[in-house]
């Protein structure tokens, strides 16, 4: 069993990297390139599925890369949390790739120049997967850089003025966060003499409490920028919406969750004990409320979705701050739900943009008649994100609230209230978008008069020029249908999935399980 895991774990990083090289070599033969990258990502999905099954049996495994034993060599660690994250992110990456292939076939190379797009996309995938299996703080930094550099390229594809402007903001903010992360690694190494996460969890605990606090806050700020936690979230709604639809979808779904994953590891393995509970709860509260108020004020679907993305990160921080097994289990389930649903919504918005020629709510109308399929494809994930029973959004939020109620304190009750309010406001923002874009007859789109729309009508006209409308190819619709199916499957199989998330949370209760994966014989100091 261990020999099998030894060969499977490096594959999740190796396959996309080999795929990127192959896709670059096949740059002049698009058909070959597409076949190559899709088959590589499909293989990763199979590998991750096998890893989920195996880790659920054994609890996890650590690979010593190059045969150097920990703590001197680099280790790749897969426990239940990593395996679940690998599986859901590889599924999402695969379907978004299929979606963008469909878009490329229909539009030619303009939006997604295939020769650069596929290699960058696969390198992004390698970075995301590497971050989930990194057992070494510096390796985590390198994987962040891999995925960030690939994301810089993807965000500025085509090099138009708007994308360069958004790209510069995004790049500078990411660089600041990376530098902060690197500086904290330097200080952690100076204080403890190691960067191996399992060994750090022992040695960091021996440091004086105030030094621990400084190091913990530095790491949390660096990861908080990546996860877009308020007040470090300002960059996200300005940069994501300008990218091509599939790129926005995969960024929104995955990149912030890599930050959330790193925060989970920081709070459970590196600095167990939940010393910053109050601070995290306050930050979660502000992220939830301010994010969703931003979403309600937006007049563009993509920007509105970006703000809901920021807002819902608050739920995950809330779950991490509760710190119990129930809280972490609900967080893990919520992360999986949110990756799927947020990506699906952005893909559906990509279809809306093709069908309606714009994503500005004051221009859209009558799409229900024009394309009932897209209406349904937007409606289901919208209800899901808004937390309507029986969808997975409801199950995740209910789990979080239950976990909060089991560990009651006045602040947690406030957060449960804020969470319920955010859920309602999400539903309001999404249903308003849906009824304006789909339900409203097209001729009313320009003569609508209502107090709620007054502010929306003030949106800059030139920014939302209606482009020509195009029919959506079957592949794009198919990929979106597949993502909606995955999000519904999270509801149908919620029982086994939720109990798996709880088992993953049980291994996170203290660092002991993680340490025993990396040092099976013990004796770490």
């Amino acid at each position: 069993m261990n020999a099998l895991m030894n060969s499977l774990i490096p594959l999740v990083v190796l396959l996309p990297l080999i795929g990127a090289a192959g896709a670059l070599i096949a740059g002049r033969r698009p058909r070959l390139q597409v076949t190559f990258s899709i088959s590589v990502l499909s293989l990763v999905v199979l590998t991750s599925a096998a890893l989920v099954y195996l880790t659920d049996q054994t609890g996890g495994h650590a690979v010593e890369v190059g045969g150097w034993s920990a703590p001197f060599g680099i280790v790749l660690v897969v426990d239940r949390l990593s395996a679940l994250m690998l599986l859901i992110s590889s599924i999402v990456l695969l379907f978004v790739l299929v979606f963008s292939v469909g878009q490329g076939m229909a539009d030619g190379d303009r939006e997604t120049p295939v020769s650069i797009y596929h290699p960058s996309y696969l390198i992004l995938a390698a970075g995301v997967f590497n971050a989930f299996v990194a057992g070494d703080l510096f390796n985590l930094y390198v994987s962040f850089e891999i995925l960030l550099v690939a994301s810089y390229v993807l965000l500025t594809l085509g090099g138009t003025q708007a994308r360069i402007k958004a790209g510069i903001t995004y790049i500078i903010v990411s660089l600041v966060s990376s530098m902060l992360f690197l500086a904290s690694i330097a200080m952690i190494y100076g204080a403890t003499g190691t960067v191996n996460i399992a060994q750090l969890s022992v040695r960091l605990g021996e440091l004086p409490a105030d030094i621990q606090l400084v190091l913990q806050i530095m790491l949390l700020v660096a990861f908080g920028i990546k996860a877009a936690v308020f007040p470090l979230s300002f960059w996200l709604p300005d940069s994501y919406p300008t990218a091509p639809a599939p790129v926005t979808a995969v960024f929104a779904g995955l990149l912030t969750k890599v930050g959330v994953y790193a925060i989970i590891r920081t709070e459970t393995v590196l600095f167990p004990g939940n010393t910053l509970q109050t601070a995290l709860l306050v930050v979660a509260l502000l992220t939830l409320v301010i994010g969703i108020l931003g979403a309600v004020a937006q007049s563009d679907i993509k920007r509105m979705l970006s703000f809901t993305l920021v807002s819902h990160i608050g739920y995950m921080i809330f779950g991490i701050a509760i710190g119990t097994v129930a809280g972490l289990g609900a967080t893990i389930y919520y992360v999986i739900h949110h990756i799927t649903v947020q990506t699906t919504l952005f893909l559906a918005t990509g279809l809306v943009e093709r069908q309606g020629g714009t994503t500005a709510l004051n221009r859209l109308g009558g799409l229900l008649k024009a394309s009932p399929v897209i209406a349904v494809l937007f409606f289901i994930p919208a209800l899901n994100l808004g937390g309507i029973p029986p969808f997975s959004g409801f199950i995740g939020k209910l789990g979080l609230f239950e976990a909060g109620a089991q560990a009651p304190s006045p602040l947690i009750w406030v957060l449960i209230g804020a969470g319920a309010l955010t859920s309602l406001l999400t539903l309001y923002a999404l249903m308003r978008a849906w009824s304006l874009a789909f339900w409203r007859p097209k001729r009313e789109a320009h003569e609508e008069e209502s107090p709620a729309l007054d502010r929306i009508e003030e949106a800059p006209e030139e920014a939302s020029d209606v482009q020509e409308t195009k029919a959506s190819p079957r592949i794009m619709i198919g990929a979106t249908v597949a993502m909606v199916t995955v999000s519904v499957a999270l509801t149908v199989f919620a029982g086994p999935l939720y109990s798996m998330a709880t088992r993953a949370a049980e291994t996170l209760e203290g660092p002991a399980d993680y340490i025993s994966l990396v040092f099976p014989e013990g004796g770490v100091s």
Binding site: V149, T156, Q161, S178, M179, Q298
Partner: protein, 149 residues
Amino acid sequence: MSASLVLILLMAALYAGGVYLLLGRSMTRMLLGFLLVGNATNLLILIIAGPAGLAPIVADGVEPSEMHDPLPEALILTAIVITFGVSAFLLALIYRSWRIARADVITSDEADVAVGGADSSMDDEESTEAEDGSGEDTEFEGRAEAKAP
């Protein structure tokens, strides 16, 4: 652990200058700021490694305690390579922006301004200034070459 005061002062100066430059609206200044902050961080890692020792090569008569810790240098090398790659990409972006719009400054987000309403009049001024290509913050002002097709 002992550390060199000169290095610490240098690191502090680099951090201060870098953060100051990063806060500007000019892309070229941001790039310079990023380079300073990157080098400051590399210096921090170097300071953490402690005073210099012997080369970490196993040989007769050399105690491991006299050797220098090689890991921080490996970290610095990796960080330098990453900084180099990202700077090259940033330079390409700045050049591209210069070719397209002759702009070296980052303007406020249009949608933010629209949603913010009247309160953002200051941002409006700055963004129109930048669109003219005559913003005070750009290094090149009116001396731009002909606009590329």
